[in-house]
Assembly symmetry: C2
Homo-oligomer: 412 residues x 2
């Protein structure tokens, strides 16, 4: 079987490396006589590269070669990835991608094209890097109704939060360290504002609940407003702050989905997921909580997930895997503030005593938190569990406080 790789960047060159290094066992597992990379598409030159003879710059070379049965898309970005992938599927080639933006934005469309052309469109590597998650959800957990899914889906922000929590490093210093270590890009917006995590929870929620979830329907908050003061208060409460993507089923036509900093209590499996690691918790009605943990990014982990999909395409060369989800429906994602949680609040106040009275009058009893280095005019507390919209409306009405931080408390 002949394979083409589009995009010879970090992941693409990793795919070539994994197929070369583990060639013998990969061929065996693919149930093919051979599994070979015929072309590598990239506009750049790689003089002296060991794979130079396979490099092509013209996509049509791949598209028009009937020997190529599987195409790997590791270019990233929406265009021309979308056009190239569509064209491949239409000509009867299976496609494997690591491109979360592509799957989150165009997944339904491309899955439909794959079905119409009886080929596979697989994307294990688009979420969780080397952690197997897409396939376990679609297969291993097939006997479950999945009620909820939540994950630490972005390694960069998890590294930053870990440095803030464990080393008392400011957000800015931790971001700088992440950039110095190569964990964060020069423009870190997609990571720190939660967009990357949002794409991933969209893919997971689409798969778990059966209808496409578009990123612009999901309320997304990043971690830029988290302070060391929040970290300290929440530590005294027995928890840690993580950037979580979360989704849960409300009904067949309604889900809840949000990306935001959230509090995970110590002892939870998600609380001990540190540095650049990712973890995804799946709550099934039969299995209970199952957690998948590992490196969420990196050349070889991500590449190995891509190659596992290539092997799957090879094994199913004559047959499409039943896999995917349906179109979205209107108002499928519920308003983010209709969820029911306790909230952590940090606020400015000139008079703590009367503030507490006013707060308890508005939202019932609260748990006050302390923090050694807290300024005099600050108060932090945890509310009882209630609808967020209701809690926030009541709290915003209180003249005695000015809210500076709001973080949701989870039960994972």
């Amino acid at each position: 079987m002949q394979v083409a790789v589009m995009g010879y960047g970090t992941v693409g060159s990793g795919v070539v490396e994994v197929i070369t290094t583990n060639h013998e066992s990969i061929v065996k597992r693919s149930t093919q006589n051979e599994l070979e990379i015929k072309y590598i598409l990239d506009l750049r030159d790689f003089p002296g590269d060991i794979n130079e003879s396979k490099m092509v710059k013209d996509f049509n070379v791949i598209l028009n070669d009937d020997e190529v049965k599987v195409v790997v898309e590791t270019m990233g970005g929406l265009h021309p990835a979308f056009e190239f992938v569509s064209a491949c599927l239409k000509t009867g080639k299976s496609v494997v991608t690591s491109n979360k933006e592509l799957v989150a934005s165009k997944g339904y469309e491309l899955l439909t094209l794959a079905r119409e052309n009886n080929v596979n469109f697989l994307f294990e590597a688009s979420v969780g890097g080397g952690i197997p998650i897409i396939r376990p959800i679609s297969q291993c957990l097939a006997a479950n109704e999945i009620d909820e899914i939540a994950g630490i889906l972005n390694g960069t922000t998890n590294f930053i939060l870990t440095m803030m929590i464990e080393k008392n490093m400011s957000f800015e210093d931790a971001l700088k360290l992440a950039q110095d270590n190569g964990y964060a890009e020069k423009d870190p917006t997609a990571d720190i504002e939660g967009h990357d995590a949002c794409r991933k929870i969209c893919i997971l929620a689409s798969l778990c609940f059966g209808k496409h979830v578009y990123p612009d329907c999901v309320h997304t908050e990043g971690i830029t407003k988290i302070t060391l003061s929040d970290v300290a208060y929440i530590s005294s409460f027995g928890g840690v702050i993580k950037l979580l993507g979360r989704a849960k089923r409300i009904s067949d036509d309604k889900i809840f989905a949000v990306v935001s900093p959230a509090i995970v209590m110590n002892g939870s499996q998600l609380a001990s997921v540190n540095d650049v690691f990712n973890a995804i918790l799946v709550r099934g009605n039969a299995t209970g909580d199952v957690v998948f943990y590992g490196k969420g990014a990196g050349k070889l982990p991500t590449a190995s997930a891509v190659v596992a999909d290539v092997i799957d395409c090879a094994r199913n060369a004559d047959k499409r895997k039943p896999f995917g989800w349906g179109d979205s429906v209107e108002n499928y994602v519920a308003d983010y503030d209709t969820d029911v949680n306790p909230l952590y609040i940090r606020a400015k106040t000139e008079d703590k005593e009367s503030a507490v009275k006013a707060i308890e009058g508005a939202v019932g009893s609260i748990q006050l938190l302390t923090n050694d280095s807290a300024p005099q005019n600050e108060i932090a507390f945890v509310t009882k569990s209630d609808e967020e919209k209701k809690l926030v409306a009541a709290l915003k009405n209180i003249a005695e406080i000015e809210i500076e931080s709001l973080i949701r408390i989870t039960d994972y």
Copy 2:
């Protein structure tokens, strides 16, 4: 598609319950028009049971019914499970089992029968209960060479150790509590002596490294000799004791495999796996460490894993999944004490100062551990990393100490 369930105990009745509760989505995922339980085999009577009309006592009813394409074996034990499963495979029925004893002892034989008869023999539920692990190893991690696998594979012993570590409860009291909670059986031998974990690591090692590993080739120690004193020393060292099943590749014809209490340092994903939870760490040459976590036992989690396999059989009704391992080879499992680790040692001694001198003379520098409630005539320490056989031989030669406890320190 018609299914038969053999054994209407905890797991078997759970299988029937999961198929009933999630029937609609299971049929859809199975890509069949229907998926129905036709027979339930059990020698006992279940008067008034909702499924009474499906109960049969004669195995031949199932064997001779050509409509039954998939048979679920949840009887447990080796006989007659082995004979029944063999007969089903020979008549062209796929078999799904949760029976770890059967797979660990007869896996190669049954996989061969399945291949010869072009049917599937699947056993996701035999390890890790509801945690997807067999399928991720065989599929999602297909692009990796797996170098090593280690797991907390037995919920009962993990509960007991958790009580000892967190509540300072003695082994005996913790075992009693586990029995009172229904986590441990009246005769807890299979759990506390490590036999259950041994069967599971055999299945995992067979799958990861490609050749059958038989339980009697794997050195197995239980947790009955662990004391609260060990727990305290190891806590002061920054670790916890877990009962681990471990296996790693030495060469294509040699692996290392052992079941024993082992020290996991705090911060490791395995250290925070508490109570009856299980976790399995897979170390791949491309993915790095991936951890799968969840409930390792229980009616519905285990049943959901069985049903996922049933769905897989239904999806592949016309086609065998390439899956399994080869025959064992002689001396495939290396001697357990040839592994290289640091060791934790607790020993009796009448003269600590001269004991330390003698120990350091024999094995090089050591790290002494302290424990508030330690008796005067006791010493505990951690050695440098070296071959276990060599360390033990040297330590046993020291007249000044009498070794009471030896626990291996892992790097997970």
